[in-house]
């Protein structure tokens, strides 16, 4: 058995659990209660509000950040949708512009074509008239030449000139 180096060790060493030695109970009970009260007060006024507050503040901040991020995302989505709508509108406008321009150009071309055709028709008709007149006059000349020639031929063959009436009657039967 250990030699008692401090007062109080001797009775505990004589057997049984040292914890059942009543000599040291009042001091342990008193100081434990003092320490418990001290820690409890520290917890109540300082540690629990501080640590619990930090956890709550963090949760609130995370919730707030997520809410703001969600809001920003909604805004971005709305802007993207608006941009998409603008783009569709612009595309429709440009398509309309292009088709309008095409139609205008086609109308212009058609109008010019009509004018040119009209001019062409007029000049064609004029030319046709001229041709007809030239032919008619040419045909008239041919009759005169034929009558002259026939008169000369008759004179040569018969030795006497045919009258103009006879030649005309003969030509009318040929023409």
């Amino acid at each position: 058995m250990a030699t008692p180096t401090h007062e109080g060790t001797a009775p505990a060493s004589t057997g049984g659990l040292p914890q059942f030695d009543p000599q040291w109970w009042p001091g342990q009970i008193f100081w434990f209660l003092v320490i418990f009260l001290f820690i409890y007060v520290m917890m109540k006024v300082f540690f629990v509000p501080k640590i619990g507050g930090a956890i709550e503040a963090r949760d609130a901040k995370i919730d707030g950040d997520i809410a703001q991020a969600r809001k920003l995302k909604d805004e971005a989505d709305a802007q993207a949708a608006a941009a998409l709508a603008d783009m569709a509108k612009a595309r429709a406008a440009s398509q309309k512009l292009a088709s309008d321009a095409r139609a205008a150009a086609q109308a212009d071309v058609a109008a010019k074509l009509a004018v040119e055709e009209e001019k062409l028709n007029v000049s064609t008709q004029a030319a046709e008239q001229r041709i007809r007149a030239a032919r008619d006059s040419a045909m008239g000349n041919v009759k005169t030449i034929a009558a002259d020639t026939a008169g000369v031929i008759v004179a040569k063959l018969t030795g006497q000139a045919a009258s103009k009436g006879e030649i005309d009657a003969a030509l009318a039967g040929r023409a």
Binding site: M1, A2, T5, H6, E7, G8, T9, A12, S13, L17, P18, Q19, F20, D21, Q23, W24, W25, P26, G27, Q28, I29, F30, W31, F32, L33, I35, F36, F38, I39, Y40, M42, M43, K44, F46, F47, V48, K50, I51, G52, G53, A54, I55, A57, R58, K61
Partner: protein
């Protein structure tokens, strides 16, 4: 060969003598003993840990994370799920119990300083029946006081079960009463027994390391003693891990039971 004295570690001796306090004709010695010194040291450790965990930073550091994990263990795992939202006022009480028991339990394992300056500084205050009994009675009395403040004489409902035939109520009431009033005993003995048993077993195996090692050094067939010494050392290492688990678990169990007892009186008759 050194004598194996597994109870030696629980011996209490005076460090700072104080004059005895006279009360009702009895002299009470309130001197600072090694047990009290280690309790004060535990209080210092708690204040240092939670003090540096109270920075309140949005992005916590290591100590703050540790402190907040311990806090969340009490708030998020015990008090709020068991008592509900009207349990908030009791968080400091349960957290105090938890931290004190946890740090005092750990003193024999993590905060073991060994033999310094002619004193053994490896001492577990929660392996002292005086300490566990005080804490158990304190918890019990707090629950009683809170119960009477909250419910007044409605406290009788605690022993008068609802929803069963009248005959059964008369049978159940004494059982409920016994189970209620035996709580300080079970609370104190559970913690005390766990700490005491583990430390005794560890001490015995640690003694075997030295004793069998000395036998083994004497040569001859006794050299086999070195094997036993190594096996004992392995056992001590395994027991140290086990003791760490037990130390944390018993602190949690004590806090959980305190919360359950508080819930019974706070939500009395609410069928919570």
């Amino acid at each position: 060969m050194p004598a194996i004295e597994p109870m030696h570690q629980f011996l209490i001796h005076k460090l700072v003598g104080l004059p005895p306090v006279m009360l009702g004709g009895h002299a009470y010695d309130l001197s600072i003993t090694n047990s009290v010194a280690m309790m004060l040291f535990a209080a210092l450790v708690i204040c240092a840990l939670l003090g540096s965990a109270s920075k309140g930073a949005i992005v916590p550091g290591r100590i703050q994370s540790l402190g907040e994990s311990l806090f969340d263990l009490i708030d998020g795992t015990l008090v709020t799920p068991i008592i509900g939202h009207n349990g908030k006022p009791y968080i400091p009480f349960v957290f105090t119990i938890f931290m004190l028991v946890l740090v005092m339990n750990m003193m024999g394992v993590l905060l073991a300083f060994g033999h310094v300056g002619g004193q053994d500084w490896t001492f577990t205050p929660t392996a002292q029946l005086a300490v566990t009994a005080t804490l158990a009675v304190l918890t019990f009395v707090s629950v009683l006081v809170i119960g009477f403040v909250k419910n007044g004489l409605g406290m009788y409902k605690l022993f008068w079960p609802s929803g069963m035939p009248l005959g059964m109520k008369f049978v159940m009431a004494p059982i409920e009463m016994i189970s209620f009033f035996v709580r300080p005993l079970t609370l104190s003995m559970r913690l005390f027994g766990n700490m005491l048993g583990g430390h005794v077993v560890m001490n015995i195996f640690a003694s075997f390391v030295v004793a069998l090692g000395l036998v083994g050094l004497s040569g001859g067939l006794a050299t086999l003693g070195l094997l036993g010494s190594a096996a004992s050392l392995a056992m001590v290492i395994a027991l140290t891990v086990l003791e760490l688990v037990v130390a944390g678990l018993q602190a949690f169990v004590f806090a959980a039971l305190a919360t359950v007892y508080l819930n019974e009186v706070v939500n009395l008759g609410h069928g919570h």
